[in-house]
Amino acid sequence: MRRGIASGDGESGTLQHFNFSFPTKESAEKVGLIQIECYLNIPATELNNRTPYEDVVLNKSATNFFNTFPVIKEAPLFEYYQQILSLSEKEFAYKSVYSKTGGVLNIFNPQIRESMDSELKTLFSRCEEEKEAIRLWKDRPSELWSNLPPKLVWAGGGKIERELILDFSQYLTRMVRRKEFDTRGDALITAIQHLRVWQFQPNEICSGMAPINAIIKEREEIYERKSAFFKENHIECDFV
């Protein structure tokens, strides 16, 4: 297991640091990306109750967001913010889902590519129109993302999932403390098994709900909010 340090922006805007053990460098890095993805969906009073994501889409640039929260420019994960917030037209196309993390439920997944998406391939071959294939595909649970439908992967997580990722990181670190693994596969599989147990255990962070249910509920709410935002601003998007 690799030890890593992740940071996130706390409620007060200060940075919180913690140590954790993850099976691969990729999954340790993903913790930071997931935190950012979630943070961008949380409305901020400084942005007139818009989410950072909405602010960046409306302004077609992240400048206003970074100027409002200058502390982020000093954060170790600043380059990840820049990477995620460099939203272009591609963000509104179905392909953008393959650049999303998939959140805590998919933290150990490899980078998902369109070529791996057999469901989409099948629908493209069956439907006469590409739009119709995408309309059906976006709602269907996908095994590429722990049975989340693409629209919920695209929507991203929020406040609860952002806390849950820290909770899971600490849980996993406790579970694998002082354990040694012979192979990368052994370490990864052990970590995934712990994830699949954790996701069903009632958790105080989500008022006693199982994390899996809380994550889906929150992502559905975020999806609804994004859909309304896109309609209101007449922005065309494959996911809406």
Binding site: P110, L144, S146, N147, T183, D186, L188, I192, Q193, F200
Partner: protein
């Protein structure tokens, strides 16, 4: 060129394993080496009859089996690649899928490998069991459940039929308890698992715990 490599393989097999492979005996030697349930031996017999492989195939297959036994990854991968010029066979495809899963943790590649295994031996319990496990790791519990159920139904095709049946039933119980909280079904699966393999400490423990909860 091909002859040279054949000589090299034959020499390696002779030197390292004290076995002399010939055109006449290689099929029998492969079947002896596999030492598996009748269903797999029948499959390999059938494969050799249909595809009429060569002595070189026999050498590569022998070396693949040995590398697989020793879990020596570079050789498993090398002989798998060299065997790629012959029609695919279940034993090597499943061996590679296991390597992708347990050694590399490439779950999607492993999933594809076990599906290839099912194309070559439909209804094979070993593939269904591993797909049940892979879908559990992928968090796709409905598919995991389906494959474990099929592993139970087809358990006779497995290397250790009773053990595979018991483990599949135990994993079905785990899904039932985590996803659906269906305690009646959990109890039924655990009891069936213990009937198939009475010495199964995890199942005994789980059943005891379940009775305390009920």
């Amino acid at each position: 060129m091909a002859k040279k490599s054949l000589q090299r393989y034959l020499a390696k097999i002779g030197k390292e394993f004290d076995v002399v492979l010939t055109e006449e005996n290689y099929k029998e030697v492969i079947l002896e080496e596999v030492e598996s349930p009748p269903a797999l031996l029948d499959y390999l017999r059938d494969y050799m009859e249909k595809n009429e492989p060569t002595l070189e195939w026999g050498c590569l297959m022998f070396l693949f089996i040995k590398a697989d036994e020793e879990k020596y990854v570079p050789d498993i991968e090398m002989y798998y690649k060299l065997l790629a010029r012959y029609p695919p066979n279940w034993f090597t495809e499943v061996g590679m899928a296991e390597l992708q899963l347990r050694y590399y943790g490439n779950i999607f590649k492993a999933r594809d490998g076990f599906f290839k295994g099912l194309e070559l031996r439909p209804d094979n319990a070993h593939c269904h069991y591993n797909l049940g496990y892979i879908y559990h790791l992928l968090g796709v519990f409905n598919k995991s459940f389906e494959h474990y159920e099929k592993a139970v139904i087809n358990h006779q095709t497995a290397n250790k039929p009773k053990e595979l049946k018991a483990r599949s039933l135990y994993n079905l119980a785990v899904i039932k308890i985590s996803v659906e909280r269906d305690y009646e079904e959990v109890e039924r699966h655990l009891k069936e698992a213990l009937a198939a393999m009475p010495r199964y400490p995890e199942a005994k423990r789980a059943l005891k715990q379940l009775r305390r909860w009920k």
